[in-house]
Amino acid sequence: MTGASLTGEKLGRTKPLRSTGGGGTTRRRRLSQPPGLPWILPALILSVGLLYYCIGYTGVISTWNWDGISPNPVSVGFNNYVQIFQDPVFWDAIEHTVIFFVVTFVVQTFLGLMFAVLLHSKVKLAVVYKIIIFVPVVLAPAIMAPVFRQLFAPDGQFNWVLAHIGLGFLQQPWIGQTSTSLAVVMSITVWEFTGVTFILYFAAMGQIDQSILEAARIDGAGNFRTLISIIWPGVRGTTVALGVLSAIGALKTFDVPWLVTSQGGPVYSTEFLGTYIYRITIPLDRVGYGAALSIILLVVALVMAIIINVRGRERDGVTE
């Protein structure tokens, strides 16, 4: 059932009234259901049509040596792709993407889960906390970039806070050194995205059967034990979906490293595929090379999405 997996029906909980997405009801439904193709057509034309057309076009450009405006691009076959695999900056970008994905995903999952659990408990003013956590999602990274540049500047507010809580020895130019710039990018991303993680976990937890929780409590399970053995498995589907979204997000990362850490700097220490594609395509006008990088990005994103999804669901199946 990998097909419907992102929509994910199966969870370790009792099912409410629902009948779609496989299982025994499928055949009966097919007989009685009216045709749905016309209904999905507008979405397919708009998204699949427009975007796949762009992919195809990009695929063609990726075989050119082209500056983006010259009327006579030179066809170079797969040369751009061959070059990419020998390009050290490309491999740097891949490495950063992997580190970025693993770290931000783990941290966001942890924080999102904690917030969701805590705000499902008896906490006063829960709505205020929820709003504070979610507002960063609403704000554009481009809007927030100057704020974070100030915040992490050598005489910025972050160092100020460190000095005032007795951690003055930790003060450093966070953005301006290769050893900490990636951490800055990751922490900003966590700040921006925890709201989504939180809200989806919060929603998923709302559907965990209260009677199971109560039964566990009666059996003497503490808070920690409940979290590990009931809540965490109960939201696994959400975790997998968030994993896919984070992986895609990591591959597309552009705004924060471009705007906060000086265009993927210093010394390419925050170069990502997104920033590299932009740099190559716009300031360096190597549109063909940029297109080839874009195609590689798409392929990697798709492969990763499928792997995470399939693996995540497999384990889901095993534990059930």
Partner: protein, 458 residues
């Protein structure tokens, strides 16, 4: 609520997309046939795009222009330099782009020159057959390509100077540095008093380039130009020495901590103008902050309310190599020129505006008085009677002599470098600074980038 509106829209969009799908494969880029003129030389609307000047300055130019040509309406659209190529390239390729646009010497001339009219006839008409002797030569060479004058220079900027905070030097009884040793000792004194010494936005190629070029000029004057034109290799021992000294600026604590994450604007500029640092690497364009109004506005922009402006002065870049080449080594380019788009429908009005701003005495006087660019037209100088400085007696002399110093300068700043080499300079300078590459290894990457960019070496 949204439904009725939405349904209408979706119908239309589907239709549009169907057309898009069909047209997709038969795409041809639109032809560049010259558009018919809908304006005359004294009336019409001109859309001007630039990353510079700032809106207020542009408005003052346009207001002065409209006193002479009231029937030509000029609209100025400012796009930041960071977004310039992303915005301008499609606009010029379409038929709804600007009539007049900024061009910087160097890479942009090659990139956008094909969209611009040859302005030789325009300048000839305005200044006569001997026009070349009437304007700064640096503005012509940098903006020409293959014999075509793609843009007329508005004014020039030169680098090779540091600007210092006079009050801080007086307070700690220090003399401005003329050698590396003195620079280091000045910085020590500042540091022991809790004041920052020198600040640079070392995350940007343009400003690292300036500092490297100044170091190179101290090592061996002329070497930088030779390397830029292929007469010497970027692996020249002089360049390795230059990068070694550059590295020393970091190890000797002249550069501020975290410099390679700093931007010149706003970071370094704000830190200098709010008195946190005593020196900054800026060129002639910084004259605008020597004025009371310019500095007051800038300090407020740096987030400090009610601060008092203080005197700043230009000094020659210190003789860091001690190889016997002390003194001013200035280098510069046209800051920007104005090009007239070939596709413009208001060409004659656009040419009138460009010609007025770049070749008329009145236009160039307005440019000169803004104190960011040195006027392109010979014989026009800023009118210091109209310009107030925090300490006129201390500042006016050095500023005026700086303007005189740059008059005969012919060493190019950026116009000889391709964007590939500029990117490599940023990578080389930051990787040397952070210890990820030795000066020799970094010089080798510069040479490789120059070869890849098509530079040929003897």
């Amino acid at each position: 609520m949204l439904k009725s509106l939405a349904t209408k829209r979706v119908g239309r969009s589907v239709a549009v997309l169907a057309v898009a799908g069909m047209a997709a494969l038969g795409l041809v880029s639109c032809s560049s046939s010259s558009a018919p003129s809908s304006s005359s030389a004294t009336s019409g609307t001109v859309n001007w795009w630039g990353w510079t000047p700032e809106l207020a300055t542009a408005k003052s130019y346009i207001a002065a222009f409209n006193k002479v040509y009231p029937k030509i309406k000029v609209n100025y659209k400012q796009v930041t330099i960071a977004d310039w190529e992303a915005a301008l390239r499609p606009a010029l390729a379409s038929s709804s782009g600007p009539d007049v646009f900024d061009v910087q010497p160097g890479a942009y001339v090659t990139e956008f020159g094909s969209f611009a009219e040859d302005l030789t006839p325009v300048i000839k008409k305005s200044l006569g057959a001997d026009w070349k002797s009437k304007v700064s030569p640096i503005g012509i060479s940098g903006l020409s390509e293959k014999g075509k004058l793609t843009a007329l220079s508005v004014g020039s900027t030169y680098a090779g100077t540091l600007w210092i905070n006079k009050n801080l030097f007086d307070k700690y009884n220090l003399t401005p540095p003329t050698t590396l040793a003195q620079w280091v000792s000045d910085c020590k004194t500042f540091a022991s008093n809790g004041v920052g010494c020198f600040v640079q936005g070392a995350s940007q190629e343009g400003f690292n380039q300036d500092t490297l070029q100044s170091i190179a000029d101290s090592v061996e004057p002329g070497l930088w130009t030779k390397m830029s034109t292929g007469a010497a290799k970027w692996t020249d021992p002089g360049m390795v020495k230059t990068l070694t000294i550059w590295k020393e600026l970091f190890t000797d604590n002249i550069m501020q901590p975290g410099a390679i994450g700093y931007a010149q604007y706003p970071d370094a500029n704000n830190d200098f103008l709010t008195g946190k640092y005593a020196m900054v690497m800026m060129g002639t364009w910084y004259m605008q902050y020597a004025t009371t109004t310019g500095m007051t506005a800038a300090i407020s922009a740096a987030g400090v309310a009610g601060a008092k402006p203080f005197p700043i002065l230009p000094i020659a870049f210190p003789d860091v190599a001690k190889a016997g080449h002390a003194g001013y080594h200035m280098y510069g380019d046209s800051d920007y020129g104005l090009a007239v788009a070939s596709k413009s429908k208001n060409k004659s009005a656009a040419e009138t505006f460009v010609s007025w701003l770049t070749t008329s005495k009145a236009g160039q006087q307005v440019v000169g008085n803004a104190l960011d660019d040195i006027p392109a037209l010979n014989g026009v100088a800023p009118d210091f009677n109209t310009i107030a400085m925090p300490s006129q007696s201390v500042q006016q002399g050095p500023v005026e002599s700086l303007i005189k110093t740059v008059g005969p300068v012919s060493e190019a700043r950026e116009s000889l470098l391709s964007s590939g080499v500029q990117t490599a300079i940023l990578a080389a300078s930051t990787s040397v600074a952070s210890g990820q590459a030795t000066p020799a290894a970094a010089a080798a990457t510069l040479q490789a980038a120059a070869v890849a960019a098509g530079e040929t070496f003897k």
